[in-house]
């Protein structure tokens, strides 16, 4: 295993690495060309801490990305969807202020894997899943594409808001290059991820000497959070299901008032009015279930995937620590090659420190983002519920009004006669 800290090349070329080698590509200074940010880990941490206390000024946002316009592309071999990615920016690193490119899901996968490789202990926002588990008939039905597009949009925006990742060279290439295929090399990138995963799992099974307390706490939190968010998602899905079944019954129930009205005289009018009320409330119910699906469910789903990302990040961090510890032990037991080994150990130690600091910083950032996102989604859902009940209230109150008007008419009639 090469012990040298490999100078990182961010021009888009893949590093030539053997498959056996440690394929973790990382850096103490994860910056692209011309990045004004300081290089040392500690100052990075300070940077992050600052961001936790002061919410990011919206006016400071200088990178705007949208993902839209899904189009079906049919070739001889396959069918896939192309999404349009529009970028508007004032950043000096970009040659132009506007870009329009077309990307497919695979391209997004590529981008994310490059980001993770470059910054193994930063929290890279997850992508929507490759497949949907629960019995999808068509791979590309409208709902699926709609959901995926929204998630891809979220993904790019999350990256663009990240103080480090948004300056990543691969990210820039993704947003600007007309053709991405020349930049993507199918080789080590994917394999490296696979290799890393296997090794990371192996290392955690072997166990670390001792995980620093803050990371132990982090791990515990991540496990708990993962459970909770999965449960909240399940409950939400169940609510939607129950609401849809309720709606089905309402659709049978309402018209019965109308049918009854046909055999009635004086009662026909109020009966028909009730039928109409039930129908309108049904529509509101439908809208409500739809809103849950559009707003709360995708957010919860995103954070379920985030939890998995966090677990992977923690594994990688553990792995980096394990490597250092292993080398350190070797240093202690070996008599020869002390100098060379020492150098290696120092390198791994630096790498470990850097990774830990990177994660710590990003952790606060992620938590703040999670809080904002989930809070916003819950608030929105609560608002929608209030809105739903207010609309139904109005429906029934107008019915009451109509009936009271009726009865006062009748009374007037009676008085006159």
């Amino acid at each position: 295993m090469s012990g040298q800290t490999v100078p990182v090349d961010y021009s888009g070329h893949m590093l030539d690495l053997d498959e056996d080698e440690d394929l973790e590509v990382f850096s103490k200074a994860p910056v692209a060309d011309g990045n004004p940010m300081p290089n040392s880990p500690s100052s990075m941490v300070n940077q992050f801490r600052l961001e936790e206390d002061e919410p990011q000024d919206v006016n400071a946002k200088d990178l705007f990305i949208t993902v839209d316009n899904p189009e079906s592309h049919i070739t001889a071999i396959e069918t896939f969807i192309m999404y349009r990615v529009l970028t508007k920016t004032t950043r000096s690193e970009f040659d132009s202020s506007e870009y329009e490119v077309h990307r497919r899901y695979q391209d997004f996968l590529w981008l994310r894997s490059r980001l993770e490789e470059t910054h193994p202990t930063l929290i890279v926002h997850p992508l929507p899943e490759k497949f949907v588990m629960k019995g999808m008939v068509e791979r590309f039905n409208d709902d699926f594409i709609h959901t995926r597009r929204k998630a891809l949009h979220r993904f790019l925006n999350k990256i663009s808001e990240h103080p480090i990742l948004s300056y990543n060279q691969h990210f820039k290439v993704f947003l600007t290059a007309e053709e991405l295929t020349s930049h993507r090399k199918q080789g080590p990138g994917f394999l490296s991820r696979m290799g890393e995963t296997v090794r990371a799992v192996a290392n955690t099974v072997r166990g670390l000497k001792s995980r620093p307390e803050e990371f132990a706490a982090m791990q515990e939190y991540v496990d708990d959070f993962s459970n909770k968010i999965c449960t909240v998602d399940k409950v939400t899905q169940r609510i939607i299901k129950e609401e849809r079944e309720y709606l089905d019954e309402l659709k049978q129930y309402g018209p019965m008032y109308g049918q009854w009205a046909e055999s009635e005289g004086n009662l026909a009018e109020p009966l028909k009015a009730v039928a109409s009320c039930v129908e309108r409330c049904g529509k509101e119910t439908e809208e409500h279930a739809h809103h849950l699906s559009e707003v709360l469910v995708p957010t919860l789903h995103e954070y379920i995937l985030c939890a998995e990302t966090l677990k992977a990040v923690m594994r990688r961090r553990d792995h980096i620590q394990a490597e250092f510890e292993a080398k350190n032990e070797a240093l202690a037991s070996r008599k020869s090659e002390q100098e060379a080994l020492q150098e290696e150990v120092d390198g791994l130690s630096d790498r470990m420190e850097g990774s830990n600091e990177a994660l710590k910083g990003d952790w606060f950032r992620w938590k703040a983002g999670m809080r904002t996102d989930l809070k916003s989604a819950f608030v929105s859902s609560a608002e929608k519920n209030v809105d739903y009940y207010e609309k139904c209230l109005a429906v029934w109150e107008s019915f009451l009004l109509s009936q009271r008007a009726e009865s006062s008419d009748q009374q007037d009639g009676e008085d006159v006669s």
Binding site: T231, Q252, L374, A382, C392
Partner: protein
């Protein structure tokens, strides 16, 4: 549903809002003729469990209901005297109603609350001993008594008065009226098929309407129960939010408080459906009353068919007897008869025999004419009285059901207001997250 006078005058039970139509129904009942309700305030105050031996000498537990009566004078003079009271069980109410429908076949008699819980949505108990069911039955029995006591015809019935005032020996008095024999023949007639030539179109239309009413109310009740079931599910799942938010809040620092209190509101939301649906049962009861009323209406129409049929039969019989007389008198046989045949085969009978037979026939014809007169009167009276009562019923039904629909809307509004409150609170908690 007829409003119990008790709420207004005794003012004890504060939880039921006086319903507009109920009040006017009571007033209307009081205005019509010298109804019992005008003279006396009636309510079914309580229910209690008793045990005793039934007709096959087996131990059973049953519920009895306390009927309280008080003369209107005492009430208006502000005397706080204790009301007269007695206990009755459901089967006695059934007996009373049986008696009334047999004795007054032209009246659309108010129904009793259901014997067994039907159209139940699954969480609601179908148990007759369930306290909520007993309570709703108490209300239904009171409603029955008030309706019957405010009816211009029924309110004058002695048996009814006796039912309300004398606890012991009432059953015997009812049986002594001999109504049971009539009850049996009525039941047979109701289910019999017979061809009637001339029926009053209004009654046939009304009978058709009663079928429609029955069909629509029962369909509606079934659908409503299914809707209630589903709504219950939606609310209860939110309880799971309560639990998970609480657990989640334990691992969060800044978000903890907001999540925790939001969770409490979710629990409250989940719990609120029980009262909401219990309240809705009153609406269902109002529909059930008219489901049963449909049957009573149908019975009145059937009675018309029956009386008309009997009249037609009696007329037919009279005609054929008169024809027989004519044949005997003139010797001309127009119709086939065994006598005619045997006469032909064995020779004419003796003049004395003929005389005897003629005389008998005359008597039968006289009887037959009386019968026809009777039946004509019966038929006509039934048509007149029943038509009046059916008009009354129709007016009452329109008013009551409209009131029921308004109540339903009021319940929906109340549910919406609760929902707005809970979710506004939850929103505040989420904002604090």
């Amino acid at each position: 549903m007829a409003e119990d006078g008790r709420d207004e005058l005794l003012g004890t039970d504060g939880d039921s809002e006086p319903l507009v139509a109920g009040r006017s129904l009571r007033n209307k009942g009081v205005e019509q003729g010298c109804s019992l309700l005008r003279r006396m305030e009636i309510c079914v105050a309580e229910a209690e469990k008793r045990s005793g031996r039934n007709t096959v000498n087996m131990q059973e537990i049953f519920t009895v209901y306390l009927i309280e009566t008080r003369s209107m004078e005492a009430v208006s003079e502000g005397h706080n005297s204790a009301p007269d009271s007695l206990w009755r069980r459901y089967s006695e109410f059934e007996l009373l109603r049986s008696y009334l429908i047999v004795t007054y076949p032209h009246v659309v008699v108010a129904p009793l609350p259901e014997k067994r819980a039907e159209f139940v949505w699954h969480k609601l108990s179908a148990d007759n001993m369930d306290p909520d069911f007993v309570e709703r039955r108490r209300v239904g029995l009171e409603n029955f008594l008030v309706r019957v006591a405010s009816h211009s015809v029924l309110s004058n019935d002695k048996i009814l008065y006796h039912f309300l005032t004398e606890e012991h020996g009432w059953r015997e008095v009812v049986y002594e009226t001999g109504f049971q024999a009539k009850a049996e023949s009525r039941l047979r007639a109701l289910s019999a098929t017979f061809r009637v030539r001339n029926t009053d179109k209004r009654f046939m239309d009304m009978k058709h309407y009663s079928d429609e009413l029955q069909s629509h109310t029962s369909q509606l009740l079934r659908a409503r129960a299914r809707v209630a079931d589903r709504l219950y599910g939606v609310f209860k799942v939110h309880g799971n939010y309560g639990r998970v938010f609480s657990e989640w809040s334990a691992i969060e620092k800044e978000m903890g408080d907001g999540l925790q209190s939001a969770g409490h509101h979710m629990d409250a939301y989940a719990a609120s459906i029980d009262d909401i649906l219990e309240e809705e049962e009153h609406y269902a009861d109002q529909l059930k009353e008219y489901l049963s009323y449909a049957e009573a209406l149908r019975a009145v129409c059937r009675k018309h068919e029956l009386t008309q049929f009997e009249l037609e039969m009696a007329s037919q019989d009279l005609i054929s007897k008169k024809q027989q007389r004519e044949e005997l008198a003139t010797g001309i046989v127009r119709t086939f008869s065994f006598k005619g045949m045997t006469n032909k085969l064995f020779g004419q009978e003796a003049p004395e025999q003929r005389e005897a037979r003629l005389k008998l026939l005359e008597e039968l014809i006289a009887e037959g004419e009386d019968t026809v007169k009777e039946k004509t009167v019966e038929c006509q009276e039934h048509v007149e009285r029943a038509w009046v009562d059916m008009q009354r019923f129709e007016e009452q039904k329109d008013k009551d059901l409209r009131e029921a629909l308004i109540n339903y809307a009021v319940m929906q509004i109340s549910m919406c207001k609760k929902g707005i409150q809970v979710w506004s609170n939850a929103k505040e908690c989420f904002i604090k997250m």
